[in-house]
């Protein structure tokens, strides 16, 4: 029979022989690794959820021309009152974004006034594809606009008594602009008082080709890394002002950091207590088996060979504990995220490796100490049961 297979069979028999203790060890290993896994998955899931929130709440960096002022305190993205309008060069911003290496979603905006029935009508040029992707909370009644079409803020539509399907004629610096209203939008924010049209069309109407008044960025970063992203972008764009937008997500981030710390502490406590429990059980086992160890040496096993058998047995336990811990831990993570955070946990396969590593580490760490002391004994003394 194959040596390795025979050894494996022998180890299973050894584990089965001490069934109660094997089950106890497995339970401790599975619990420790499952908790470590579960807490890790939960914090990853939370992190991802907060990243989603960041997207949901909109931009976290806003680039505006140097002269414009961003009123952060009002909570919205207020353009302020611009006495002398200044603009950002679109190509300049694109270049800065690519050289600074910031990964982000972005939306480009140009704000200006068009004339409608002898009054100024605040208009914003945007890319509707970007808007649909990045501002999912926009509720458009009617249809999203095609070329030559516009969406009207809900309040504005009411005030002007316009509805989807209506045709209007606006005037810009470059002449009349006929537009069809394809739909109305209500967000509960300043969007309700604006007219939205395609960015190039507004740029042309205002004679501001290639000019922007605002770029909103959704950088997938938070805290310090967001700050440094803002700084590096600022260096690339000396003529602009890069502002960090404070949002609700920041609070969640602070909370997440605290929850993570708590989880790490809990994990550490679990690992230490599980470790000492495993060490205790393992050392009893190894001491009980000192005669067996002595016998193996007496019939010709070298110290390394015998040690490897016992390590393999511990690894077998650790491996089984790790697999069980992963399954259990994923379950716990799902339970926690569902009941406590009302979110769904991620399914993270590589967490299996984490669970396995934790369990193996505990099992081997727990047995190394007692093993080394027993293996230093000569076979005669081991056989006597010393």
């Amino acid at each position: 029979m194959n040596r390795r297979r025979w050894l494996l069979k022998m180890m299973f028999q050894a584990l089965a022989h001490r069934g109660g203790r094997t089950v106890l060890l497995l339970a401790v290993l599975a619990m420790a690794s499952s908790l470590a896994t579960a807490l890790w998955i939960v914090s990853l899931s939370m992190e991802r959820r907060i990243a989603e929130e960041v997207r949901k709440y909109g931009a976290n960096l806003v680039v505006v021309p140097q002269a414009a002022r961003l009123d952060v305190g009002s909570g919205g993205l207020n353009f302020g009152s611009i006495a002398e309008p200044s603009y950002l060069g679109q190509s300049e911003v694109e270049r800065a974004l690519s050289t600074s290496g910031i990964t982000s979603e972005r939306s480009l905006h140009l704000r200006g006034a068009l004339r409608y029935q002898n009054a100024d009508l605040p208009a914003e040029g945007v890319d509707f594809a970007e808007i649909r992707r990045l501002f999912p909370w926009w509720q458009v009644k009617g249809a999203w606009p095609a070329a030559g079409e516009a969406v009207l803020g809900g309040d504005l539509a009411t005030r002007l008594k316009l509805k989807p399907g209506d045709r209007i004629e606006l005037a810009g610096t470059a002449g009349p602009i006929p537009l069809r209203i394809s739909g109305t939008v209500s967000t509960g924010g300043e969007e309700d008082g604006l007219l939205f049209m395609a960015l190039p069309e507004l740029q042309q109407a205002l004679g501001l080709t290639g000019q922007l008044s605002q770029v909103r960025l959704m950088v997938t970063a938070s805290g310090d890394s967001l700050k440094s992203a803002a700084q590096s972008l600022q260096r690339q764009l000396p003529s602009a002002k890069v502002n960090e937008v404070r949002q609700t997500a920041h609070t969640s981030e602070g909370l997440l950091a605290k929850v993570k710390l708590l989880m790490m502490l809990v994990t550490a406590v679990v690992l230490v207590s599980a470790g000492s429990s495993v060490t205790g059980t393992m050392s009893t086992t190894v001491l009980e088996r000192s005669k067996e160890i002595g016998l193996m040496k007496a019939i010709g096993g070298t110290r390394l060979e015998v040690l490897l058998i016992f390590c393999a047995e511990a690894a077998l336990l650790g491996g089984a504990g790790g697999v069980a811990g992963y399954l259990l831990g994923s379950g716990i993570a799902h339970f926690i995220t569902r009941t406590v955070f009302a979110a769904s946990a991620e399914f993270i396969p590589w967490m299996g490796a984490v669970s396995l590593a934790v369990s193996l580490f505990l099992a081997l760490l727990g047995s190394v100490g007692p093993m080394v002391s027993v293996f230093k004994l000569d076979p005669v003394r081991s056989l006597r049961g010393e």
Partner: protein
């Protein structure tokens, strides 16, 4: 005279202050059956452990099977044991969770490769063909000792050591075990060193040496 299997001169083993074995000169020719007698604490086990490469001498020369054991490393001694020596213990020292067959195969595992057919044959030779799957706890003392013998001879050792192998057995089992060892030696032609308290058991050997407080005080040839 045949080649010496065991050759010692000035062989000494002390545990700190206690000198368990005073300098001993001993020569055991190949194929001889040597019985070792002496009262408790006289150093019989100490001598046997040295000869079997389980322990190291404090001083003196110890050559077994042409190997100078004092020059071997720890692992070298382990290899010497598995290649050259078969050991039978008074306490059997069978692995409790392995069957009789697997206990024999464990010895094969450390020697080379577990071979079930060979192990079964060894157990059949010691009359345990019907108890292959039983664990030590399910066997009588005499049966356990026979498993121990099967395990000791499975790798065809040149030297068979027994430290009171019949110490725990009744008269009938003792006879059975001695009979068996005699048969096996006739077939395998290994050298035997056997520690015993029992004059009758010692008489199965070719020669008996007597130890007192670590000193070889007397030796006797039991048959010509």
């Amino acid at each position: 005279m045949a080649v010496a299997t065991i050759e010692t001169s000035g062989l000494t083993r002390s545990y700190g202050e206690i000198c368990a074995l005073k300098p001993i000169d001993l020569s055991v020719p190949e194929g001889e059956w040597l019985s070792v007698m002496g009262h408790s604490g006289s150093g019989k086990s100490t001598l046997m452990n040295l000869v079997g490469g389980l322990d190291r001498p404090t001083a003196g020369a110890l050559v077994v099977g042409g190997q100078d054991l004092s020059t071997l490393t720890e692992d070298g001694l382990a290899r010497f044991r598995r290649e050259y020596v078969g050991i039978i213990f008074q306490q059997h020292h069978l692995v409790p969770y392995l069957s009789a067959l697997e206990n024999v195969m464990l010895s094969q595992y450390f020697h080379s490769v577990p071979d079930e057919a060979e192990a079964r044959h060894a157990l059949e030779r010691v009359g345990l063909g019907h108890r292959l799957k039983n664990r030590p706890g399910e066997l009588s003392g005499g049966e356990q000792q026979r498993v121990c013998i099967a395990r000791a001879i499975i790798n065809s050792p040149k030297l068979l050591l027994g430290d009171e192998p019949t110490g725990n057995l009744d008269h009938k089992s003792t006879l059975m075990v001695m009979e068996l060892l005699k048969e096996l030696r006739a077939e395998e032609r290994f050298t035997v060193v056997m520690v015993t308290h029992n004059e009758e058991v010692a008489a199965w050997g070719d020669r008996t040496i007597y130890l007192t407080d670590g000193v070889l005080v007397r030796e006797e040839r039991t048959r010509s």
